[in-house]
């Protein structure tokens, strides 16, 4: 069991390294196509003018492909890390911040990789992959005792429900990360000033479709959470801060879904709401740092 836990940790190390390189490659792909060229002209009178031009040349496709390949490495290594840990603990390993964040790295990477394949655009990677990397780095800042496999406290021993509740949350958060990235690119490119970015229509579609997965997932998180709360604490809703911050996130995305059919709201304002939604997601995720209450386990 000790060996499995260690091996899992090494796999996660490999996943973090490939994720870091992948993030660099994606960022390079998205921004490094700008080439600055300086031309010096000398007039017959001997005056020298220097003209600086920015060119958006093609030529870093390779970086994008490299980023994708490394991202798939991350997916495989993170999957191995989770699998080995699951074998060691004899349960689905998503019960403390260490395990939860590891699962997020895996899910966000996998979901983004799938979006990339479907839409054939790599630019979102420059935002999503660094977010996943941030989460991987966060895992490294967690106290080392969380890396050990512990038995669960009685309130968490409801395996099926816990697995479903927590994995819906992870999937929801991963899709919200992708919709956040699409919203950011949408805001940058809504006037089509950046020729090499995907069209605003496509970005809008990616953002919306991600939310159409994330929103039902977040609803499921709330529903399964209530069922679990009902079984463990005797009440399905107790206005616990973690519950209400998830409800806040849910309401923000509910507003987003309604604005899409409203003139004057769709487009820019919808995209801004998505940014707000992701901020709420992060707030809910790290809520354990701010809140006491019933969700105050997870080791932080």
């Amino acid at each position: 069991m000790e060996a499995l836990v260690k091996l899992s940790f090494y796999c996660f190390t490999a996943a973090t390294i490939s994720l870091a390189l992948s993030a660099l490659a994606y960022v390079g792909f998205a921004v490094a196509r700008i080439r600055i060229r300086q031309t010096s002209l000398t007039t017959p009178q001997g005056q020298t003018f220097t003209a600086t031009t920015a060119e958006y040349g093609v030529g870093y496709e390779g970086l994008g492909r490299f980023g994708s390949l490394l991202l798939w490495f991350t997916v495989v290594f993170a999957a191995l890390a989770i699998l080995l840990r699951g074998l060691a603990a004899d349960r689905v390993p998503i019960s403390n911040m260490y395990e939860f964040s590891m699962a997020f790295v895996f899910t966000a990477s996998l979901f983004y990789a799938a979006v990339e394949r479907k839409y054939e655009v790599k630019h979102l990677g420059a935002i999503v992959v660094p977010i996943a990397l941030g989460m991987a780095i966060y895992v490294w800042t967690l106290p080392a005792r969380l890396r050990e496999v512990d038995d669960l406290i009685p309130a968490l021993q409801y395996n099926t429900l816990m697995t479903a509740h927590v994995s819906s949350a992870i999937l929801a958060y991963a899709t919200f990360a992708v919709s956040f990235a699409a919203a950011v690119l949408f805001l940058i490119n809504q006037k089509r000033r950046v020729s090499w970015l995907p069209s605003p229509e496509m970005l809008d579609d990616i953002a919306y479709r991600s939310v159409t997965i994330g929103f039902p997932m977040l609803s499921l998180v709330l529903v399964l959470g209530s069922i679990w709360a009902y079984r463990a604490w005797g009440t399905y809703w107790s206005w616990d801060p973690k519950e209400t911050s998830a409800l806040f996130t849910w309401l923000v995305y509910a507003v987003y879904l309604h604005t899409r059919s409203l003139r004057g709201w769709r487009g820019q304002r919808s995209a801004i709401i998505l940014l707000l939604g992701f901020a709420a997601t992060i707030f809910t995720y790290y809520g354990n740092y701010f809140f006491g209450g019933l969700h105050a386990y997870g080791g932080v």
């Binding site: 009685p154 309130a155 809008d204 579609d205 997965i213 529903v223 069922i227 009902y230 005797g234 409203l262």
Partner: protein, 490 residues
């Protein structure tokens, strides 16, 4: 443009009341209003959420002048406030009105869609296509129909002035998913109200091992604790708390179950949850003639005695003999504050105090010490300390709103699934008359739906590949720039 004057008689005068009702109705139906209502609700939820965190404190420290506001923030439970309840009520009404308003239109678009369209409509659509067949139009329409059927589209056709108008849609029932979802939101609130109005709960229902306690909710239910077990892993972390319960309705045993933290016992709508536990002692009290006046278990730890505030104490009222017995156990950590311990009990000993409750505290208490397995005689009674036992604390709740809540949860998730994963897709088209130039014009109703446009283009590309036709796809939205605006092949 021709001028048009509408005679006064054609605009019937409306009653001001009617206009007002109309306005209110439209307010409740408005998506714009809903967006604002949900936004305000979100802000309220955020205020309530932050109240449970250190964030307002941080704000108060950074901006000292906001301190009074921060204090009010912590004092104010927005979730139990009138504005919050009012907004929920407003939203419920809006959902109900909106549903009533939308059902007929959506239903008729499902059962009886408008088939006839116009060339102008097709020309102005975001994405449209013109197919010019090399042979006859029939081959193309046949293939088009086959492709649409294969993609699970319903195809409706109608002849008009020699042209065939075509309407195809799929997932037409998908639009209905919005209704169960939104109604579920109302049901969640109804469930909450029903639970609060008709339910009861007791968060600290204590039963000691070997004793039976009556529920204080007006029912005839009582619970007996046969055994309690707490187990720990080698590191001392709790593994399981288990209570073996027997439930009686009157004198009749109706249920027997072991409950743990996540496995409560349910009987009718009453649920028993494991919440806490503590030490207890099993005692027998007899009078001088040997008659047993008490045989049961007394929970310790729910009280403290001034003789040693660190030690668990319990109170046993014996109204039949007019006495109150106070039981104090030994200090679990004698090293902490030893000066407060005036009893100095050893493990396995109990300190007893017997007070006459009929004299209202004027008589001094009779005291004594008893060891486990022994008896001690105080104040004319013999108290036998039979053995150490435990008590369990249960949360007992009855919530008749729960079935409503479960139904709502099911409708909510199901409704969302239908709305999002079975999107309504529509295509309109005109097959021009046999006499004129043969041409099939099609348009997708796919405003702001990139994926629907994509799938429409794929349909046209499939037809183009399989038949000798000339197709032209036109996109009028911004995306046209990125993809080839017109796809022409021979």
């Amino acid at each position: 443009m021709a001028e048009l004057t509408i005679p006064q008689t054609m605009t019937p005068k409306r009653h001001p009341g009617e206009i007002a009702i109309d306005r209110v109705w439209r307010f409740f139906c408005s998506v714009r209003a809903a967006v604002w209502e949900v936004s305000v609700l979100a802000v309220m939820v955020l205020i309530g959420t932050l109240r449970g965190s250190s964030v307002p404190n941080t704000i108060g420290e950074l901006l000292p002048f906001t301190q009074p506001l921060v204090d009010r923030w912590y004092a104010y439970d927005i979730f139990k406030s009138l504005p919050f309840a009012g907004l929920l009520a407003l939203l419920s009404i809006a959902i109900a009105v909106c549903t009533i308003n939308r059902v007929p239109g959506i239903w008729s678009s499902i059962t009886d869609p408008t088939v006839v369209t116009s060339r102008g409509f097709i020309a102005s659509a975001d994405v449209s296509a013109t197919i010019t067949p090399a042979t006859g139009a029939d081959d193309v329409t046949g293939l088009l129909r086959a492709h649409l059927k294969a993609r699970r589209y319903r195809v409706v056709e109608q002849e008009l002035n020699g042209d065939t108008h075509l309407y195809a849609d799929k997932n037409r029932f998908g639009k209905l998913g919005t209704f169960p979802f939104h109604l579920a939101l109302i049901m969640v609130l109804v469930g909450g109200i029903v639970g609060a109005r008709y339910g009861f709960r007791d968060d600290e229902f204590i039963v000691a091992e070997g004793s039976t306690e009556q529920l204080l909710n007006g029912t005839s239910l009582s619970v007996r604790l046969e055994d309690f077990q707490d187990s720990y892993n080698p590191l001392g972390a709790p593994m399981e708390y288990r209570s073996d319960l027997v439930l009686y309705d009157g004198d009749e045993e109706v249920k027997r179950q072991s409950i743990t933290v996540n496995n409560p016992m349910t009987y009718d709508s009453v649920v028993f949850y494991q919440t806490s536990f503590g030490p207890a002692v099993s005692l027998i009290v007899t009078d001088l003639s040997g008659t047993v006046v008490y045989d049961g278990t007394v929970p310790l730890g729910r009280y403290t005695a001034k003789e040693n505030p660190d030690a668990p104490a319990g109170v046993l009222d014996l109204p039949n003999i007019g006495q109150r017995l106070i039981v104090v156990g030994p200090d679990a950590n004698p090293a902490i504050d030893p000066e407060k311990d005036t009893l100095g009990l050893l493990s396995g000993e109990l300190h007893l105090q017997l007070r006459d409750t009929t004299t209202a505290g004027t008589a001094p208490a009779q005291t004594g010490t008893v060891a486990v397995g022994d008896g001690a005689t105080i104040g004319g009674y013999t108290v036998t300390f039979v053995r150490d036992r435990q008590w369990t604390m249960l949360q007992v709740a009855s919530n008749p709103g729960i079935p409503i809540f479960w139904a709502a949860a099911f409708m909510m998730i199901g409704g969302l699934g239908i709305v999002f994963y079975f999107p309504h897709r529509r295509i309109r088209g005109i097959v021009s008359s046999a006499s004129g130039p043969q041409e099939i014009q099609l348009a997708a109703l796919a405003k702001r739906d990139w994926s629907a446009k994509r799938s429409f283009e794929q349909l046209i590309e499939d037809i183009d590949r399989e038949l000798p036709v000339t197709t032209r796809i036109t996109r009028r939205d911004g995306d046209a720039r990125e993809r080839p605006a017109a796809l022409v092949s021979a």
